[in-house]
């Protein structure tokens, strides 16, 4: 993270979203909305005084809803850039009209309640999509695990936050309901993944490994604890992965092959009912904490950003690669590459490998100062073009405009309008051809004459 932050060639734009992408490979014009932090970034020193004194409270997204944060806040102490952001939705000044503590206390006068979003337009030669993942919303469909009404049924990511030394518990594993240390922790794998009835058909790929890690951490951190893992299969196809999972089992993690049919509260315990399909017997566990390995799904706005950038998504909403084997980091849109979990569920080693692969594709594009354009673009026969302009609105790439053309007719100098194609913008789709009544526009390499010849020959 620090390497990216300090690199002289990297400019970081956080709290920003891409609004529009125009142009084509080598020459994209991107419109970016830099959302208002309500803060003058040039004045803020990141001292944190505002956050300390802020009386507003909201649920912390960074702590996965398990803790509170202030209304003016840094998501976590090591945030990059080292700047707070003011959340209008929970700020007392914006919700109740009375406060202004942060502005009063700020030693550099950096707080600016009037600040507006900023729109930036910049040119880029290539775009790398790395929008990552979100977790499957299990609360919506998994009634057997309590629809999210039991506070001690949590996701793996919530478990990570408790485990993290920099997290809200300082690395102590607790029960969210009463703060006590759990002795029996049950892990349920494949929640939302490999479950077409309730979630996704695909395997989420990372859960087997992080669950093995979580089980190891329970055993390591909590004396006399028990980690019980309900699984369908243990999938560990990676270097040193199987050994890692076996180590958790040797340390004492109990793996039970079978699905959990029900989880319910009984006193301060959670009763987990399932089946051990290897023994063919029902199993019942009194658990203190239940951790669900929920599926990775595309980031919540993935479909929208795909549309803005102009790339495709697959049936699950992940970005579509150009070829599953041979072009895994390219998309069907030249100059747009994909890396990480936005393409499909992925662990860190695979993500890093794919990101470096995408970087190489960008670098090989940038290694030339000029690039060859595809000559298979629309071409206007000016002698026939009547300048009716029917082709202009049908062009999805805004590549056609009407321009005046001077010529001599019957000894007189006249000027008439004709269609002109910008070959840089034209993608050769040919929609203009079907719209042209005069038959004046053709796509080079796919002319009417050429396609009709093929039709004739094939129909023989």
């Amino acid at each position: 993270m620090v390497a990216a932050a300090q690199h002289p060639n990297i400019e970081i734009l956080t709290y920003s979203e891409v609004e529009a992408v125009d142009g084509f490979v080598g020459n994209f014009q991107v419109t970016i909305r830099k959302k208002a932090r309500l803060l003058d970034e040039s004045k803020c020193t990141g001292c944190g005084l505002c956050e300390e004194k802020c009386p507003g409270r909201a649920t912390s997204e960074f702590e996965e809803g398990l803790a509170k944060r202030k209304s003016i806040y840094k998501p976590f102490p090591q945030a990059v850039p080292n700047l707070p952001v003011l959340d209008k939705n929970s700020c007392r000044l914006f919700t109740k009209g009375k406060c202004g503590v942060c502005k009063k206390i700020c030693p550099t006068g950096a707080i600016d309640y009037e600040q507006q979003d900023e729109i930036i337009t910049e040119n880029f030669g290539a775009i790398v999509m790395a929008t990552g993942y979100d977790l499957f919303e299990w609360q919506e469909v998994y009634g057997e695990y309590g629809y999210g009404k039991y506070p001690d049924v949590i996701t793996g990511l919530q478990f990570e936050r408790m485990n993290n030394a920099a997290g809200f518990t300082g690395g102590k594993i607790i029960r969210p309901s009463d703060g006590k240390e759990p002795k029996t922790v049950v892990f349920i794998k494949c929640v939302g993944s490999r479950d077409e009835a309730k979630g996704k058909a695909y395997c989420s790929r990372t859960c087997c490994m992080y669950t093995a890690k979580h089980a190891h951490q329970v055993i390591e951190k909590i004396p006399d604890s028990q980690a019980i893992v309900f699984y369908m299969d243990i999938r560990t196809p990676g270097k040193a992965y199987e050994e890692f999972a076996q180590r958790s089992i040797e340390e004492g993690a109990v793996y039970v092959r079978g699905r959990v049919s029900r989880v319910y509260q009984h006193g301060d315990k959670l009763i987990v009912k399932g089946e051990d399909t290897l023994l063919g017997k029902p199993v019942e566990v009194e658990a203190d904490l239940v951790v669900l390995a929920t599926a990775m799904v595309p980031s919540r706005d993935a479909k929208a950003i795909a549309k803005v950038v102009g790339i495709g998504t697959d049936q699950d909403g992940f970005f579509q690669e150009a070829h599953p084997k041979l072009r895994p980091v390219e998309t069907h849109t030249a100059g747009v590459y994909i890396a990480g979990a936005c393409q499909g569920p992925k662990d860190i080693p695979d993500t890093v490998a794919q990101a470096s692969a995408a970087a190489v594709k960008v670098c090989s594009l940038f290694s030339k100062t000029e690039m060859a354009t595809d000559p298979m673009v629309a071409d206007v026969n000016l002698a026939i073009c009547s300048g009716c302009g029917m082709c202009v609105p049908v062009c999805p790439y805004k590549a056609i405009e009407l321009v005046p053309k001077a010529e001599r007719v019957n000894g007189k100098q006249i000027e008439r309008l004709v269609a002109q194609v910008n070959s840089g913008l034209c993608q050769g789709c040919g929609a203009c051809n079907a719209a042209c009544r005069a038959g004046a526009i053709n796509v080079k390499g796919y002319t009417d004459d050429q396609i009709l010849a093929e039709v004739d020959a094939i129909c023989l």
């Binding site: 069907h332 298979m376 049908v394 999805p396 993608q427 050769g428 789709c429 040919g430 929609a431 051809n433 079907a434 796509v443 390499g445 796919y446 009417d448 396609i451 009709l452 093929e454 039709v455 004739d456 094939i458 129909c459 023989l460």
Partner: protein
Amino acid sequence: MSLEAKVESTWEPKIVAFCCNWCAYAGADLAGLNRLQYPVNVRMIRVPCSGRINPQFVIRAFQRGADAVLVSG
């Protein structure tokens, strides 16, 4: 079997398919990769986009004896 019925049972339609290079043509390639078997009657013509399919292509295919035309993209 009557002649008519015999003709009917052996008759096979001739189908011309216009396929967009980016989706339908790629889909037909994918069918090949997965070895999905389908009737042999269809002949694909690759076009750069379904927008490239001028109605006259469809008419011409019928004129030249195609029994069905598939426009896919």
